[in-house]
Each structure stands twice: as C-alpha cells, then as structure tokens.
C-alpha cells in the first residue's frame, strides 16, 4: 500500500486521539457542573462556580464538535457506523449538551421560562451524562459494538429483505446496549470521576473563596479514589484481555491474546506517553491533596489527561489493531486502514491541521487574559459582566 497514504491515516488517528484527549481534559467543565449543589452551598458560591466554568464551556463544546467533524472528515466509515448505529447513545449525549449550551446564558435571566434551578439541573445532567456516556462510547473501541458493515447493501447485494444501508446496528437498542457491558460502564465512570477531579482542580485554580475551596479539597479525595479504582480496573482488564488484531497483509481481523498489552510493549513511545500522562494526573491531584496552598494541579492533571487519553486511543488503533471492533462478526470491524477517507482528502485535511498550533496559541493567550485574576465574591457582587 501507498506509504504516504498509510502515514496520513496514522497522522489523522493521532490528531483524532489528541482531540479526544483535549476533550476529556475540557470535560472539567462538565465535572465541575456536576458538583454544583455539592460544593456550592449558596447562590453566591454557585454563581462563582458557574462563572468559573462558564468562561470555558464553549471550548469543550467546540472541541466536541471539532472531534466529531474531524472523525467525519478522516474516518467517515466510523462516523456513519457509530453515529448512524449507536443512535440513542449519541442522541442522549447530544441532548445533554444542547441543554448545557443555553443554560449558562439563560439561568440567571428574567423570563427564562423554567427558572434558575431547572437550568442548574440541566448543567448537572450534562455534567453527569456527558462524561459517563462519552467514556462508555470510547470503551467500545476495546470491547466491541453490535454492528455490521456491508458496502454491497447499497447495490442491493444484501438480498431482497435487506436494507440498502451500508452500516447497520444489529439490535433495536441502537447503542444503549453498550451500557450493558460493565467494562464500558467502568470507563464511563472513570471519565466521569476524572472530570469531577479536574473540575475540582479547576475551581481551586480559578476561584478565591475559602469555604468553597475547602469543600473542593475535601471532595478531591473520594472522587479521586473512585476514579482510580474504575480507571485501574478498566486498564488492567483491557491489558489482560484478548484484542482485535489485523493481519497487515490480508487485512483479516483475528483475536489475539493480550493484544493491548502487546501494543504497549511493541510501541514504547505510546507506552511512555500513556504512563507519563497517568503520572502527571496523579501528581496534579496528590500535590493538591497534600499541599493545602497548591492551586496549579489542574495544569499537570489536565496535561496528563491529554497524554493518557492520547495513549489510550493509540493503543486502540495503532500496531495493526481494529479500533472499532464488531461483536457481530469481527470481519466487520473498522481499522484505520479500512475506514479512512481517501489519500487526497487526508492530505488536504493535513494542511488544514497545520493551523492548529496557531489556534492553540490564541486560545492560550485569550485564556490567560481572562484568568489573570481568580473569581471571588467581590467580583460576583460588583461585576456586571457575569453569567
């Protein structure tokens, strides 16, 4: 096969993985929102929390959209199979984000139809379901999904009774079946509690209000514990299980013992990225727990999250692994090679991706300008430019 094409496919898998990692980091917005009533004990405190995550919610949203659109552009067979098949899983995720999008702007305004508390509940619903379901969806990269793919369907080759649709889900629950697999739920919970941990770290970094910060530090330990248990359970089990390997010559899929563990060993750079990511996450959290004045944990934990998720995605798709396995027939599984766009499209998109460092630069600059000073009670009492 064309080496340039292979390189472009792998390049785009790295970009997708990076966007996935950034998205999970930015789920601190969702995690923080899920703690709204737990940590915010009065209106003023909840206002501080909302204005803290509220300056950043659009980044999470935009990253989710760009993640989806980039998947469409680079691996359209995944986009059509997963979104068209796991319909209900993705629809519920999208409903919660739709509710979140208006909640910040509307929650504290007269005439908002359903009242402030309802919008806060919307933020909490998105804060819980968003990370859980996104985590569950990513877990299916390792555990399989119930779909078939047959391009002959559009040509009527599927037979008289068959639909003309190429990618079809093989059961009526359309994605909700993913939640029946406890290992998908495990990663969902891991992402959710990690989002809460990151949310707590972000509040500690961006809010200056002692009672609230005290509660944040107290909540850090139990949320970290649950995150670690669910994350370790998922990772250990994944490394020990059979995985979906691809014969690079014939493109046939077969089950291989300890496939993901083998990937880790055979790709030391990926292993390094993943482990450094995990270490940074732990460092950010533990230093915040043990040093009561430390408020920069979000940066280490956040950067670590990006690296760890990047590592997980590369584990799922590199080294001749089917990243979206089918549990109907493993030969339907999607690989980087069989699901990608054409070489020309990937090349054009690669040029477009060169803009990303420029995008990161202006985001960094704008972020710093807005986060120069922490939010405190004084600001929410006097500043008119608040949610």
């Amino acid at each position: 096969m064309d080496q340039t094409y292979i390189f472009l496919q792998q390049y785009w898998w790295v970009i997708i993985a990076l966007l996935g990692g950034i998205l999970v980091f930015l789920l601190f917005v969702q995690g923080g929102n899920s703690l709204l009533f737990e940590i915010g004990k009065n209106d003023a405190e909840r206002k501080m929390m909302i204005n803290s995550t509220g300056r950043k919610w659009e980044f999470t949203f935009t990253t989710l959209v760009t993640f989806g659109a980039s998947f469409f552009a680079s691996f359209p067979l995944f986009y059509s199979t997963s979104f068209g098949g796991a319909y209900w899983l993705w629809m519920i995720i999208l409903f919660t984000f739709v509710l979140q999008a208006v909640s910040y702007e509307f929650q504290d305004r007269a005439g908002n139809l359903v009242g402030k508390k309802t919008y806060h509940i919307f933020l909490i619903i998105n804060g819980i379901l968003g990370p859980v379901l996104l985590g569950g969806a990513v877990a299916t990269f390792f555990n399989g999904s119930n779909f078939i793919v047959d391009k002959g369907n559009i040509l009527g080759l599927g037979g008289l009774e068959s639909s003309s649709v190429i990618s079809q889900w093989a059961n009526a629950s359309h994605g909700l079946d993913a939640l029946l697999d406890p290992w998908n739920v495990a990663l969902g919970l891991a992402v959710f509690f990690l989002a809460r941990v990151l949310g707590i770290l972000y509040f500690i970094n961006s809010i200056d209000h002692e009672p609230l910060i005290k509660r944040c530090r107290k909540a850090l330990i139990p949320n970290t514990a649950i995150f670690l248990v669910s994350f370790l359970a998922f990772v250990i089990r994944t490394l020990l299980k059979d995985g979906f390997a691809v014969n690079p010559d014939t493109q046939e899929i077969f089950m291989q013992s300890y496939k993901y563990f083998s990937n880790l060993i055979e790709m030391p750079i990926v292993a390094g990225v993943f482990l450094i990511g995990v270490v940074l996450v732990l460092y950010g959290i533990l230093r915040t727990i043990f040093q009561s004045t430390y408020d920069k944990g979000i940066w280490f934990a956040g950067f670590g999250t990006v690296l760890a998720v990047l590592g997980l995605f590369l584990l799922a798709g590199f080294n001749n692994t089917a990243y979206y396995p089918s549990n109907v027939d493993i030969q339907y599984s999607l690989t980087i090679a069989n699901s990608s766009s054409s070489k020309n499209t990937l090349k054009v998109m690669a040029y477009a991706s060169l803009l990303m460092p420029f995008v990161f630069a202006y985001i960094f600059y704008a972020w710093r300008s807005l986060n120069k000073d922490k939010i405190d009670k004084d600001e929410i009492d006097t500043n008119k430019h608040m949610y």
Binding site: E58, V65, Y87, L99, V102, Y104, V114, S164, A352, H385
Partner: protein, 523 residues
C-alpha cells in the same frame, strides 16, 4: 435488486433535519448581522472614547449573547445529524463533505468560542484594542463558519471535484479547490451571509423603532438606526445581485429546481417570470393535462433573463426535463428521465457485478463490469428512482417560498431607503407609522430567510446530492419510532429554548441600554 425503501423513515428523517436546520436558521442570521453591527459600534467607541458607544454596543451584545447561545445549541445536532440519520450519505459522500465541516470547526468555531468569552467577560480585563479585536474576530469566526458550511451545502446542490471509486463504493475528492471555491459555493456564501446582514440590520432598526415608539432613548435609537440602515441598504442591494447570480447558476445546474420554483412546466424561449400567481391544486403530475395556474401575472421574458442573462433564451420546463430532447448549455441533448433511470440501474448492476467478480477473482467479468459501470456512472443516482414523478420536487412549496423571498427581498431595499431618507430629513423620530413598520418588519426578515432555505433544500428533492444520491438511499437504518421520538424531543427542546430566548430578549430590550433616559438629546 434494491430493497423497497421505508418511505416513512425517509420522511421522518427529512422532517427532523428540516426542523433542526430551520430552528438553527432562526438564530444564525442574527449572529451574522449583529456581530458586524456591534463591532462597528465598538469601533466608534474605540475611536471617539465616547462611553455612549460602549454602552450602545454592550446593549446589542447582550441580545447577541442570548441569540448566540441558542444558535450553538441548535447547531450541535446538525454537526452529528449527517451521521445519526444519514449514515449512507456520510459514507457515500463523506470523503468530500466531511472536510469542510472539520475545517469549519478548526478555523471558525474555535475563533468564535475563544473571542466571544473575551468580548463578554474581558471589558475590564483586557486592553481596549484587544477587546475590539476580539469583537471583530467573533464576527470573522461566524462568517468563516458560514463559508465552510455553505461550501458543503453548495456541493450538495452541484457536486464537483470528485470521482466515484468502485472499489470503496463512494465518491472521493480529487480537487479541493473546485469544491471550496465553486461558483455555487462563492455565490451561496455571499447570498446567505448578506441575508444574515439584512436580518441583523432589520432587527436593529426594528428594535430601535420600538424605543422611538415608547419615546425612550432617542439618541441611542437614532444612532443605531443610522448604522444599521446604511449596513442594511448595502446588504439588501447586493443580495438582489447575488439572487440573480443564483438564478443563473440554478438555471444551469438545477433546472428542475428553477422550474418548480416557477411552476414552469412547458419550456420556451423568452420565458416570463410569474410575479403573482395562484397554483392550481388540481395539478398533481407534470403530464396530467391540468393547467398549472388558476391565474398568473407574468413579467415577460424575465425568467429567461434570470436563468441565462438572456431575455430570449430557452428555459426548460418540468415536462422538458422529464421528457428530455432539448439542447442544453453544453450543446448536448438532454436525456429523458426514463433513460437516465435505465442507465442508472445499469451502473448499479455493473458495480454489483464488479464487486462480486472481484471477490471471486474473475478478472474478465470484473473488467467488463467496470467498463459498463464507467459508461453509466454519471446516472448512478437515477438507478434508485422508482417513479419518474419522484424527480419533481413540491411545486407549491417552492413556488410560494420563492415568491415570498423575492418580494420581501425587494421590500427590504425599499424599507432601508425610506428609513435612511427619513433619518436624513430628521423626521424619523416623529413618524409613528414608520416606527410600527420598523417593528413589524422584524418577523418578515426571518420569514424571508426561511423561505430561501425552503427553495434551496426542497427544490433539490429527491436528491440528497444532486443527481448522485436520492434521499431514499441516504438514510440510516433506524426504527421509524426512534426518529419520530427524537423529532418530537428536538421540537420540544428547541421550542422551549426559542420561547425562553424571546422572553429574555424582550425583557432585556425593555430594560434598554445602560444610558440615562432623560438626558438632553436622549428624549
């Protein structure tokens, strides 16, 4: 043999996309238009240092923020709906269609998301220069976003820059520049963005007229009207031009859409444009012998001019496009639809044989099938059409929507001329009748925009991608009940958001800008 299609699944999938897209288009035009107007106002503040302009800009930004939030909420589902409800489409053309969407995210959405936060929250945190730059970058981000999504939509109307790959059973991009800068994309961008600018201008004039009606904030209202009306007349004038260009493009690339928008069945040279008309509801098919109109008033030769910039040119009607036999722009004779359908079926069958021969290693059959396929691939999409009448989109929906859009388009030109004239004569603040017209023009701008999109999207039916893929073969395999349920969930959620957005906006408008009410010159 192609399986029978579940038409209710197709209809509900179309209905859901129409619902979500129309709701999105309630909010996007105001984002596009208001983003420029508020940036101009903040520029006035930056240059003069007059706090009046800062507070004026901030008032419009408040309305912008409410509107923008719902625009984002309604836009999210559209990004993913190609996958959720149109999965065959997503594979069949995703190689071309996905790229503009991804570039939209990378280039435009991040720009909007980043600088809108600075615009709203950075007043006391960043320099005046940086804040002004952020406000303009919000506008640029919104406009860039419009560019890329309209490139994608334009490609649906007139697919270019691609080649069908029989091995992957999809269309693949071969010329990105042809896709990104096709005449359809360029004109559609200007036409759609200008419609947003017109709406933004109408909105600002209309809301300002409300203040004049209430005898409040006169200086704020008159200054806002001045900026918006000048912005509006330029936009409204240009949109007439881009509308004409759109007509010439559609005349060449989507003649059926133009014919349906005109209720034009029998082609002729020097064809007239129906200015006013009432369609005959008894006309059901193109060849049932019924007169298409109960009555009509035509502008002679104007349809020929609209389609070809030539008053005496031939414009094919619906019957001509179905029956073929007329000379096209490129000199070839149009094929009858029946023949296109036959050739499309041959292409599908040939591709099926190609795939089966490939699997069994029969190279000779594969080569023969490939040759057959190449000879007929141009009509591949037609192979899925079961009934010729499927090729005719809804004439009433297109006809009346087109008229509404055009009439309102010209009305807006007149509207802004009158507003500017009365403002110049310093009579506007006294003309209560004009204030009422200003307020009542606001919903007309929304109606015009929706009418335009109805023509664009209903006019291309039955095609998801013109001539390449009909909607019947573009959908995801879902239970109809699932699509019905999500349709009603979206209808409920978006309606709730619309009511909330309108309620909040009305309260903010009633509160008014943070300017003294009874200062000299204000009342």
């Amino acid at each position: 043999m192609i399986a029978n299609v579940d038409t209710s699944l197709v209809d509900w999938s179309r209905a859901q996309f129409a619902l979500t897209a129309m709701y999105h288009w309630i909010f996007v035009p105001l984002t596009l238009g208001l983003s420029v107007i508020q940036a101009v106002m903040e520029t006035m503040y930056y240059r003069t240092g007059d706090e009046f302009w800062k507070k004026t800009a901030k008032f419009w930004m408040k309305i912008f923020g409410i509107n923008f939030a719902v625009g984002v909420a309604t836009g999210l589902i559209l990004e993913f709906e190609f996958g959720t409800n149109w999965s065959n489409y997503s594979w069949f053309v995703g190689d071309i269609f996905g790229a503009p969407l991804a570039i939209e995210g990378i280039l435009a959405f991040f720009m909007e998301a980043t600088f809108i936060a600075v615009m709203f929250f950075g007043w006391d945190k960043v320099s005046k220069k940086f804040h002004l730059a952020s406000t303009w970058l919000v506008s640029l981000g919104a406009t860039l976003s419009a560019w890329w999504i309209l490139v994608a939509n334009a490609w649906m109307q007139h697919p270019v820059g691609m080649q069908f790959n029989p091995d992957t059973v999809r269309n693949e991009m071969v010329d990105f520049m042809a896709v990104a800068f096709s005449p359809d994309a360029v004109n559609k961008f200007f036409h759609s963005v200008l419609s947003g600018w017109v709406l933004g201008a109408v909105f600002v004039v209309g809301v300002s007229c409300w203040f004049l009606l209430k005898n409040r904030q006169r200086r704020f209202a008159l200054k806002s009207i001045k900026i918006a009306a000048v912005f509006g007349i330029i936009s409204a004038g240009l949109i007439v031009f881009t509308g004409h260009v759109a007509g010439t493009i559609i005349g060449k690339t989507q003649p059926m859409k133009l014919a349906a928008a005109e209720g034009f069945y029998e082609g002729k040279e020097g064809a007239g444009l129906v200015a006013v008309g009432l369609l005959n509801p008894a006309k059901q098919t193109y060849n049932d012998g019924e007169d298409p109109f109960i009555f009509r008033i035509e502008i002679p030769k104007m349809l020929s001019f609209l389609a070809n910039s030539n008053f005496d040119s031939f414009v094919p009607g619906i019957a001509d496009i179905i029956e073929g036999g007329y000379e096209q722009d490129d000199g070839t004779i149009a094929l009858p639809a029946e023949e296109k359908i036959e050739r499309g079926k041959k292409a599908i069958t040939a591709l099926a044989h190609y795939r089966e021969a490939g699997k069994s290693g029969d190279e000779a059959t594969k080569a023969a099938a490939y040759k057959d396929f190449q000879e007929n691939v141009e009509y591949f999409g037609y192979g899925y059409i079961k009934d010729i009448n499927e090729l005719v989109p809804s004439v009433p929906l297109n006809f009346y929507s087109f008229r509404i859009m055009v009439v309102l388009g010209f009305y807006f030109v007149l509207f802004f001329i009158v507003v500017i004239y009365l403002g110049y004569k310093e009579k506007l603040h006294k003309m209560k009748w004009m204030h009422w017209i200003g307020v009542l023009t606001i919903p007309l701008a929304y109606i015009a925009g929706q009418a335009g999109w109805i023509v664009a999207e209903v006019g291309r039916q039955p095609w998801a991608i013109q001539d390449l893929l009909p909607v019947t073969v573009a959908v995801s395999k879902l239970d109809v009940s699932s699509v019905k349920l999500t349709f009603f969930i979206f209808a409920f959620l978006f309606t709730m958001m619309l009511i909330a957005a309108v309620g909040i906006s009305i309260r903010e408008i009633r509160k008014g800008p943070d300017l003294p009410e009874l200062e000299e010159g204000n009342n």
